[in-house]
Point group: C2
């Protein structure tokens, strides 16, 4: 089943054409669009003492402003995500944008070079946070917390090199939900997957699939295939690129760059093609090679239990056990998962195509202990929603459907048709604000009525109050509906009540 | 009139004792409290390959985590502020956490050393934003916007030196509202002051006062007092410290550090003691010295008009024309303002005492042109709410009143009194989540009923569903009110409807 939302089938076709371009390109185009506005060369300076060479007004590479239109879309998406986190009993948390550099190193061995460091201006060495998971683990250890279910929404920063990951945003928003604590196996893990399903269904992004694997199965698979243990994390990082690169290219990287024996790579190649449901889990228990690994068997047993819970949650058909899933971050220790949006099959043969990962997560049981002075373990599992890609898809969907977005919430506009009514307008609008009504007026002494009415139409403001000499003499105002152009006369003292009545009806 | 809110008089006394300490100390204590938890020395590392010297788990100097309790308070405050901004028709905007360093320099000449720079890792030179005003001006120029009413909420970073401003947060949240565009004089300026009043009244922080001045009056005053024009900004920066230092100390800084002639400083000293309402504006028009300055007279004329509009808005009695107000930032060109909370007079004689600035702003008509290639001017006026201090006051108020803060919004808990009911609980809770009901359960196969009920009481969850063998056989569940301990039996198929009915009633 596909969630078509408000978008008609033909519009979806156009959207999907966009989506079929590789995800990187999608981002480049978004940056490029915004960039156009920015390319204004400063040739002169007003202040006489400022004599510097021409410079270009722009935002830093890989970052962007969010315009009011974009903020409306962003807010709607974040609202849905945060509501879901709260529906599952999560508490909020906020951590600083930067951490002591030593808190972050060793947590991302493979990705360390992507961290933004702050300049040493005397004092502590600091880096911008790379994700919200490590700060959460630091928070738990620092406050000696043994359990916590928390969500956090915030920006993270990664210096993705444009040559290897062209156009990826370097500043982006993450929405994280994590469950820390020692519990019975796979119950919190299953809830994380349920949350992913609720959020992706709720956002009506179209059909999706959540790939699931387990780091112990990955490591067990490496061991039985003959990967030396010292290469596990490096090979894992290569395997993580399978959603962006073909197996052929990943194999090449493993063999040439990471020095893996070709026959070992080929053995891995056999496994990474396997994906399926609970039956694949059963099948792998019988796999002559994989079943030799104690680690892998532990992982398989947990996946089996997980699928049982997912069935009770009614989401098992959304989940695929996928042996190619690796997840790049070093700190995962158990189940790992990643949600991808699927293309409509009609658009490209029978096999649904991956159009990009929009959420991911996994279990990291050892991360907190790395911060704890006594090495106390706090097992954790969690997920992160990739807002930027979702944002892009929703934005495109709205553009395609031609849906007009209001960027303000103004309910009433205070207008006049005559000169010298500024004082009355100021008194009236203060009365509205004080009653909690969202109101605007033009900042002009004597605006034209037509200008004022046009403003209301452009901004989608539903109601206009009109005041003039006659109205003032009679102690009334005119209340006009912008859409129907109907006008009624209301007594000044009934104004607030009448407006509140109208607003509650609409 | 004083806004006592929910706090009884005696509690206010205790709170005010706290507030009477200098604002810096207030912050130091908050940091200190949180710091205690953090001082855990890492003596061992779990991973054998990690052999580094002991280190302390902490957050960077001048930053802090916000705990779930604090997040609830923070969210309530931000909600009220953002609602007010939206009530006045503002659009949302977001800008990156860092900007090109060259975009920020020259905008804060006096404060440049407080900027956080990013390390040069190859590429652009970047700095963390110092406020939200300069990025807004950059956004307007970059997108060639001639008018915009926008709000922005976000973190800013300032490397306040602990020796001169001990304990100030280096990472803090600002809530900005600005009106850009060429309009008739003082109408947007008056709205900014109205917004400040609405927010401060709405937050029930106690009585407050908004000091108003004009940069042209400040500069005119400097000119007629005999300050050389080259020293205007430096003397202005000294004068800005008058809310933290006595005139004697500020005068000393002006004379000794900034090289001002003592008699010039004394002339300034006469003016900075003046504060009052519209009558002081009238009086200053007649001042033999100040009336000689064309600039100052322009500023006075605008203030006169401003007071007229403030009277129409019904807030004139909250505003004080104060010749000591300077505002530290370089970019202001016209009216400037700063809101301070007042202590209850009964606590310290008759004269209300300043307990710290909580909001500020002003007009900056030349900032956008500094970014515009052709030097086009976009006049702006805006305000910034200092959330950290407000947050501290509200938090203290809640502590004093003993008000218990719920950190989750969970409405229903799914419990069992018997073993082997995990499957049923999972099925039930998924049904609740899918109906949009906020629900939790314990992540245990066989939890004790008492543990489950205690959890509900501790977390303030109002309803519990209890399922057991008997209920399952009869196709019912028990619905229990945690507060009254009353239990009713509900048919499984009516469960969602019954819960929704209960929740809508409460």
């Amino acid at each position: 089943m596909f969630h078509l939302g408000l978008v008609p089938g033909r519009a979806w076709g156009a959207l999907l054409c966009q989506l079929l371009r590789p995800p990187r390109t999608v981002c480049v185009r978004a940056v490029g669009c915004h960039g156009q506005v920015a390319e204004a060369v400063l040739t002169s300076q007003l202040k006489p003492h400022q004599e510097k060479p021409n410079f270009i007004i722009k935002v830093p590479k890989g970052t962007r402003d969010l315009s009011p239109q974009q903020m409306v879309v962003r807010e709607k998406i974040l609202d849905k995500i945060i509501s879901c986190f709260k529906r599952h009993g999560a508490k909020g948390l906020d951590t600083p944008a930067f951490e002591l550099k030593e808190m972050l190193t060793e947590k991302y061995e493979e990705n360390l070079r992507l961290m933004y460091d702050l300049k040493d201006q005397g004092g502590e060495l600091l880096s911008l946070r790379y994700d919200l998971t490590v700060p959460f683990a630091r928070y738990l250890a620092m406050n000696k917390l043994k359990k916590m279910k928390r969500y956090q929404v915030g920006k993270v920063w990664r210096r993705e090199s444009p040559t290897i990951a062209q156009g990826r945003y370097r500043e982006f928003c993450q929405c994280d939900f994590d469950i820390a604590g020692q519990y019975d196996p796979m119950i919190p893990d299953a809830e994380c997957l349920k949350i992913m399903c609720e959020i992706l269904s709720g956002l009506q992004l179209g059909d999706f699939l959540i790939k699931v694997n387990d780091r112990r199965i990955v490591d067990g698979m490496y061991a039985v295939c003959g990967v030396p243990e010292s290469k596990f994390r490096a090979i894992c990082a290569s395997m993580d690129k399978l959603d962006k690169m073909s197996w052929k290219d990943v194999r090449h990287e493993m063999v040439v760059k990471k020095g893996l024996a070709p026959e070992v790579a080929d053995r891995i190649g056999d496994y990474v093609q396997c994906h399926g449901g609970i039956s694949l889990v059963e099948q792998m228990f019988q796999d002559p090679r994989l079943s030799q690994s104690k680690l892998a068997v532990e992982g398989l047993a947990d996946l089996k239990l997980l699928f049982e819970y997912l069935t009770l949650f009614g989401i098992a058909e959304k989940i695929s056990f996928d042996l190619s899933l690796a997840r790049g971050l070093d700190y995962y220790t158990g189940v790992i998962f990643e949600a991808v949006l699927l293309q409509l099959p009609a658009q490209a043969g029978d096999e649904p195509l991956n159009v990009g990962s929009v959420a991911a997560g996994g279990r990291y049981d050892e991360l907190v202990s790395q911060f704890d002075p006594k090495g106390h373990t706090v097992p954790c599992v969690g997920l992160s929603i990739g807002v930027e890609r979702i944002f892009y898809i929703v934005e495109q969907k709205m553009k395609t459907s031609g849906e007009k977005v209001r960027t303000t919430e103004t309910q009433v506009f205070v207008a006049t048709a005559q000169k010298n009514f500024l004082q009355e307008r100021l008194k009236l609008i203060a009365q509205l604000w004080d009653a909690g009504i969202k109101a605007e007026m033009l900042y002009k002494n004597n605006p034209k009525l037509l200008t004022q009415l046009h403003y209301c139409e452009n901004m989608g403001i539903p109601l206009v109050i009109i005041i003039g000499e006659q109205e003032q003499n009679e102690g009334v105002i005119k209340l006009r509906s912008v859409a129907s152009r109907e006008e009624v006369t209301v007594k000044r003292e009934n104004l607030i009540t009448e407006i509140q009545k109208r607003l509650s009806e609409s």
